[in-house]
Each structure stands twice: as C-alpha cells, then as structure tokens.
C-alpha cells in the first residue's frame, strides 16, 4: 500500500480503500463486534428464504427432498465447497442448517456464512444454535435471520424450528418452549411434522428440567416423522429414548459431508450421505 505514504492521499486513501473493498461505511464503522446493524440484503433472511421457497410450492403428495447439514461456524472455505456440491444435486427443494451458523455469535460471522450460502440455487433455512447465542448473538440472529422459534409448511410437511439451547439460558426451565412446540404439533391440517433444533434432548446442554416434557410431546405426536439436530458435528440416527421417535443428527460443515433427506408416504424416509 504505497499510497499510504503520500501525504496528500489522506482522504482519497480512505474512500478508495472503502469502495475498493466493496463495503459501505455503515458496515465498516462497526460500533462493537456485537453491533448487529446489517445491510439490507443481510436482514430477515428467514423470511426472504421462505418467500423464495414458497414461490415454488410442492404439490400435495409429491416427494419431499432437502439437504440436511449443520454447524457452519468458522468453516467458510468448507461452506464454499458445500455450496458447489449441493448445486450439483437434482431434485432437492431446499437446505436446512441445524444451528451454530456462527462461532462467536457475531452478525459479521452470520453474513460470512450467508455470503456462501446465498450462492445456492435453492433457498436455505436455519435454526438457532448455542454458538449463535454467545454475547449478544441472540439479537444478531434475530436481525440477520429472524425468530428463534418459527414454523413453515412445505407440501405435506410442517417444519417446526425451535431453540433448544437450554444451557445458554442457564437452564431456566423455559427452553425449549414446550407449550409453543405442543401448539405447533397440534396442527392436524398437514400430513407430517418434522422438528428441527440444535441441541438434541439427550445432550447435556439440553435443559434436564424440560427434557421429559419435550420428549413426551414428540412421543405423543402421530404425525412426527423425526426430530433433527446438530451440535454433535457428526451424523447419527437412532431412537435414544426407545420410544419410537427417531432422532437424526447432522454432519458439521467441517466433516465435508451432508445428508439428502427424502420423505414420502406418511412417514417413509431415506437418507443419503454425500461427501464433498
């Protein structure tokens, strides 16, 4: 940067540097790493991605197919490769990221993941993870993505996305919000339910005071296909509570693998592992 040494370049250097880097002064003048002010295209991503998804509705009884992954954290280079791989897949309708979008709960980290994932040819949706709640991350997540609990229906399936990061709330007995989850599960206008959350209920970071109520609500739901989690950075599938409810854990981005989930019939499904 030789221009730095030229005395008359003081102001020009500043503006040239800012524009050359393609950043607006608003983004550059960061008040704190916890500052969550985001450019227009990095706000309300959940709503924007849902709008994109629902613009291509899935007809009733059509097979549902989506990519399942989680824990993008600081694996930006891996994210770039994951996007290239997913874009080769035919017939997938969207991608789910099972939390820990960021590592330090900072808005910039969420932007960096979106910088990669917005190159997907399909929309992606997220649920909040424990790392997304570090510091003021909960507020950053709300700003960049949206609500911590939300649901959407695509084709015959209702996806219930919920915050299960109990340890981040010092196990206050209110996370996950079981009454909200129950209310969502009561929706019998759809054929199937799928719950997606970050921390699995058998994990030590799940609030033990709420575990029984949550697992019980799932057990009683006749429409539930499975519960999906991240947090553990590796794929697993099983019935940890031996109650007929299947739990699927995602690969983290760093594992350079993801799942393609195909769902049909009442509760039929198939998982395909893809390496990239």
């Amino acid at each position: 940067m030789p221009s730095v040494f030229r005395p008359n370049s003081l102001f020009t250097y500043l503006s040239v540097a800012a524009t050359a880097l393609g950043l607006s002064s608003c983004e550059l003048i960061e008040f704190s790493p916890n500052d969550h002010r985001s450019p227009d295209d990095k706000q309300a991503l959940t709503t924007k991605n849902l709008t994109a998804l629902l613009a291509k509705p899935l007809p009733a009884r059509d097979t549902l197919r989506f990519v399942y992954t989680g824990d993008s954290q600081r694996f930006y280079d891996d994210a770039e490769d994951l996007v290239k791989s997913v874009n080769q897949q035919k017939g997938v309708q969207f991608m789910l990221v099972a939390g820990d979008i960021s590592d330090f709960g900072m808005a910039r980290e969420m932007w960096w993941v979106d910088d990669q994932l917005r190159k997907l040819t399909i929309p992606y949706l997220t649920v909040i993870g424990n790392h997304d709640q570090v510091g003021n991350g909960r507020k950053a997540y709300e700003e960049v993505f949206g609500p911590l609990n939300y649901s959407f229906t695509y084709g015959d399936t209702k996806f219930i996305m919920t915050d299960t990061n109990g340890r981040e709330y010092n196990f206050n007995g209110r996370i996950p919000d079981v009454s909200w989850v129950r209310q969502q599960l009561q929706d019998n206008t759809v054929r199937r339910h799928v719950i997606v959350s970050h921390v699995p209920p058998q994990d030590e970071d799940f609030d033990p005071a709420v575990r029984e109520a949550y697992v019980g609500a799932l057990r009683e739901d006749p429409r539930l296909v499975f519960e999906m989690n991240g947090h553990r950075h590796d794929f697993s599938i099983g019935q940890p509570f031996n109650d007929g409810v299947t739990y699927v854990n995602s690969y983290a981005f760093e594992k350079r693998q993801y799942l393609i989930v195909t769902v049909w019939g009442d509760k039929e499904f198939r998982l395909k592992q893809v390496s990239f």
């Binding site: 003081l10 500043l14 960061e30 008040f31 704190s32 916890n34 500052d35 960096w112 510091g135 507020k139």
Partner: protein, 218 residues
C-alpha cells in the same frame, strides 16, 4: 451501573498515576510509569507534569463504541501515543447497552508539515485492547464447562493502521496545540483468526473495521 464504575476508574487513573509517581520517588525504583518522566515532555516547550494527559480523544467505530471518548498521552516526541477511551453502544444497535473500555497505543513514524499550520502523519500503526461490559449472554460462573468457549466474549485485541491530519493552533501564550482528525482501519483477534483459516472464502475487506476520530491537545 457498570458504566459508572468504568467511568470512576477512568477518572481515578490520574490519581493512581500520582500515587505511583510518589511511590516511585520514595523507592527510586524505575517503575514503568515513573520512567515516562525522563521523556522530554512537551514537544512545544511548555512544562507540564508527566501524568497530565496531553490530549482529549473522540472516536466513532473501530469496534470500541458508537461514541468513545477519553484522554491520551504523547510519548517520545509525540510519535507514540497511548489513549484511554470509554465507549458506548446503545441497545438499538447491539441488543443491549454496552460500555467498552479501551487502551490504544499508536506510533506515527513520519510527521510531514504542510504549509505553516498543517501537518500530516501519513502512517499510524498500533494496537488496542478492549473490554466490553453489558453483553446479554455473558459467561456466568458455572454456566459452561471449562474451555466450552475457548475465546473471551468480552476482551478483544487488534491492530490498527491509519493516517492523521493536524491543524496547529496557537494559544494566547504562543504555545502550539494540535487539533487532528484521524482514521484507522482495524480488526480484532477473532476476525483475523477467521480470515487466516479461510483465505479462500474470506477477504481482508470482510474483517476490516473503520474508525474516525478527533484529537485535541490541551
């Protein structure tokens, strides 16, 4: 409450410095602060006690506040400066009201006069350490197992690089006092780590922050 505490600490720091000076004189041990006395204090000839700040600072951005204000010391012909700042970010922008205490050290090797009254410092390099108080999900005692989050959520360190333009005004006594405008591009430990590990997906621009500030000698 916390911001009041920090403010009190800042206000008390010159007093601490006085106490340390006396202690240093009594024991004649060359403490770090005591040693500063040896510098030829004012570049412009007037005598002031070493512990009196040389300038006031007002800054925005750089990760240390929407507004950060404080005082600073010039060391070694004013080419080295140590600024102590207290920053504030309102809830609206960060989710909670934050107070950020910062110590920043800068070095400007070149001082170029432009005309009679103006002066440019084309290069300022330095670093800062900041401590943020008031985050929502602060690590509480016993909340996490040791090393659960290996990084500090509140303490950040980072480099800065910038330039400065100064105007020399004269006091009635004929002494010169600088009023300067500066900018600094900076980053922090966590952003730098992210970039170093992801050179393909991230660019230097992604991890930069900008600060704009004013310094006035008094």
């Amino acid at each position: 409450m916390a911001s009041h505490l920090l403010l009190a600490v800042l206000l008390a720091s010159p007093l601490v410095a006085v106490a340390q000076e006396q202690l240093a004189n009594q024991t004649s041990s060359p403490s770090l602060l005591g040693r500063h006395q040896k510098y030829p204090m004012p570049a412009n000839g007037d005598k002031k006690p070493w512990y009196r700040p040389r300038h006031v600072v007002l800054q925005t951005g750089g990760g240390i506040g929407m507004i950060a204000a404080g005082v600073g010391y010039g060391l070694g012909k004013d080419r080295n400066e140590l600024d102590i700042l207290l920053g504030y970010v309102p809830t609206k922008y960060a989710g909670s009201s934050l107070s950020i205490a910062t110590a920043k050290y800068t070095y400007s090797p070149f001082v170029l006069p432009v005309g009679e009254r103006w002066q440019v410092r084309p290069l300022t390099i330095g670093g800062y350490i900041s401590y943020t108080h008031g985050t929502i999900n602060d690590e509480e005692k016993g909340q996490y197992a040791k090393g659960y989050y290996w990084f500090s959520t509140d303490t950040r360190v980072g480099p800065v690089l910038g330039s400065r333009l100064a105007y020399q005004r004269r006091t009635r006594e004929g002494q010169t006092r600088n009023i300067s405008f500066y900018y600094e591009l900076g980053s922090n430990d966590l952003y730098i780590l992210s970039y170093v590990q992801n050179r393909k997906a991230l660019s230097v621009g992604d991890i930069l922050t900008l600060s704009l500030g004013l310094k006035a000698d008094f």
